[in-house]
């Protein structure tokens, strides 16, 4: 099957993905350089975080580009955008996007329908991480910095790209929130990690299929990042900086390791998952068109667009469902496939009982 021969393609895929990885890494480096006003706002103490982030960006773009090389992924990705950006439908699509974004991303209700504890764990981890990322990345890239106002030690000012964006008094109620936002995030993530571990330790289904590298390592990494982060706070506030230097290095190691793991492990689903929204648009567009009618039972079983697209994906990957004479197995609905198999087995047995058969 020519379509299944992958060896030559692999190198081309790797080159392509490396190219995109480099483009994104260079773009992020440029973003750090210019966003920190040519490194004037860049905190050299955070250089290892920034470096790991650039590597992480390379890895993410590399893996994403690799992923997009898969024919079915490529088809959905481009079709999804094509359908979304149709000028006549753009306004409606944007409305739908906002709704879907809220339901699937902000609320994550589809996980709740699987189980409440799974949802609670996922929601806490996801939002804890997003909160932490919103603070730490701009800080370590030098895009945001804080300093006391020139006239008063009691007023703190925040700058983004060198431009003052807001200021607050140290005795105002928002000050402790701002200073402790990473602790809030860490507590959220820890609560989520605890719930996830609890489920993974008790659920027999999860126990049967979970793997260390895929399912437990990410939880352990999150735990390590959060707990070392909280130790830092505890050291600074309650133990007068006891072991602060060591703890901050330990924390850096856990964060950097997590950043390096991000593109290659389970966390990659954060970047893969938005494709779910594309599928929703694809399904809607398909339903507005004609249905695919089963060759055998003559009933509608999918959208014509989906079936035709699948045939083209199958051609690309070398699945040859073309039937002898004419017709295509893809035009047979799943139920008729199952019935056909049982009938064909019956036919095989009947043939052996035909006159002239030796049985």
């Amino acid at each position: 099957m020519p379509g299944k021969e992958k060896t030559g393609v692999l190198n081309e895929d790797t080159l392509h993905a490396t190219f995109w990885g480099l483009v994104v890494a260079v773009m992020l480096s440029a973003g750090i350089y210019f966003g920190s006003r040519r490194l004037r706002d860049f905190d050299p103490a955070l250089v290892s975080y920034a470096g790991a982030s650039v590597f992480c960006a390379f890895g993410l773009a590399y893996r994403y580009a690799m992923w997009l090389r898969r024919p079915p992924t490529r088809l959905y990705w481009f079709r999804g955008w094509q359908i979304f950006l149709r000028p006549s439908k753009l306004a409606g699509n944007l409305m739908m996007f906002v709704r879907l974004f809220f339901q699937s991303f902000v609320e994550q209700r589809f996980i709740d329908r699987r189980s409440h504890s799974r949802w609670a764990a996922h929601w806490l981890i996801a939002w804890g991480c997003i909160l932490a990322a919103m603070v730490t990345f701009p800080l370590s890239f030098g895009w945001v910095r804080f300093e006391s106002a020139p006239g008063s030690q009691d007023v703190y000012r925040a700058f983004a790209g060198g431009v003052p964006v807001f200021s607050f008094r140290l005795d105002s109620p928002i000050a402790p929130l701002i200073f402790n936002v990473l602790d809030v995030a860490a507590v959220m993530v820890l609560a989520g990690v605890f719930l996830a571990f609890r489920r993974r330790a008790r659920d027999r289904g999860a126990l049967a299929v979970q793997q260390f590298a895929n399912d437990l390592l990410p939880l352990l990494l999150l735990f390590a990042v959060c707990i070392t982060g909280l130790f830092l706070t505890a050291s600074a506030h309650w133990f007068r900086g006891l072991h602060y230097g060591f703890l901050s290095q330990l924390h850096a190691v856990t964060v950097i390791f997590t950043l390096l793991y991000l593109p290659f492990g389970k966390f990659f689903h954060i970047f893969q998952r938005p494709a779910q929204l594309g599928v929703a648009f694809y399904k809607q567009a398909g339903q507005q068109g004609p249905p695919a009618v089963c060759h055998r039972c003559k009933k509608a079983f999918a959208t014509a667009m989906h079936v035709e697209d699948l045939k083209s994906v199958q051609r690309q990957i070398g699945v040859e469902y073309e039937l002898e004479g004419s017709g295509h197995y893809q035009d047979v609905c799943p139920s008729c496939r199952r019935q056909t198999l049982a009938l064909a087995q019956d036919m095989a047995w009947r043939d052996t009982r035909r006159p002239g058969s030796t049985r």
Binding site: V209, E324, Y329, R337, L341, D346
Partner: protein, 205 residues
């Protein structure tokens, strides 16, 4: 799996639904049955046939999955979709040659038979094969099958021109070495009038 194999023999099915019920008990998809119990031709016949995942060597469901959400374990069991990855597109549902994966809209996810991985991975029989009274679904040794039934087991299928090899065996007459599905099988053969009790003939109405 210590010489144990999974054998499917559609023609033995008596439609008792035991497999469907037992499947719901499986820990990896509690409350949802992954078995399709097909009523072949509702009007004329009571014949039913179960369909489980055949655990293909090079699963087409996984090949067409845009999210790379379907993985095979080293022991050849094709798992249900990875929950963080599956984006609910139904490519696998439409492409599986055996019509196996199920799409659940409420959770926007595909689920399929994983050969009761919680059980088979520790040497137990799958739920369905444990309860099937006619052993249309049998999880046993090849020797035991040969001792108790006519025919033999095959793993090779052709759909159109696509060759598929499965981990699960189909029980067929000795003469059949490869199971071919083409237009003839899909449309059914010409009806054999003389034997009204021949279920297969009746089904072709």
């Amino acid at each position: 799996m210590n010489g144990l194999g999974f054998f499917l023999d559609y023609s033995r099915c008596i439609g008792c639904q035991a497999c469907v019920q037992a499947c719901e008990e499986c820990d990896t998809h509690r409350g949802r049955s992954m078995i399709h119990l097909e009523t072949i031709q509702r009007q004329d016949s009571v014949q039913t046939a179960p369909q489980i995942c055949m655990h293909c060597e090079d699963p087409i469901c996984a090949q067409v999955c845009p999210a790379d959400a379907i993985k095979k374990t080293p022991d050849g069991v094709v798992q249900s979709s990875l929950k963080p990855r599956c984006i609910g597109c139904s490519n696998c549902v439409l492409s599986c040659p055996f019509g196996v994966p199920k799409y659940y809209a409420e959770i926007d996810q595909m689920m399929k038979c994983d050969m009761c991985y919680d059980r088979t991975s520790v040497g137990k029989k799958p739920m369905c094969a444990t309860v099937c009274p006619s052993q249309a679904l049998a999880f046993t040794t090849l020797e035991e099958m040969q001792r108790s039934r006519q025919g033999h087991a095959i793993q090779d299928w052709t759909f159109g021109q696509e060759n598929v090899r499965t981990k699960v065996y189909l029980w067929v007459p000795e003469e059949t070495v490869r199971f071919q599905i083409d237009l003839v099988q899909i449309q059914g053969p010409s009806r054999i009038q003389e034997d009204r009790n021949d279920v297969a003939a009746l089904l072709e109405d």
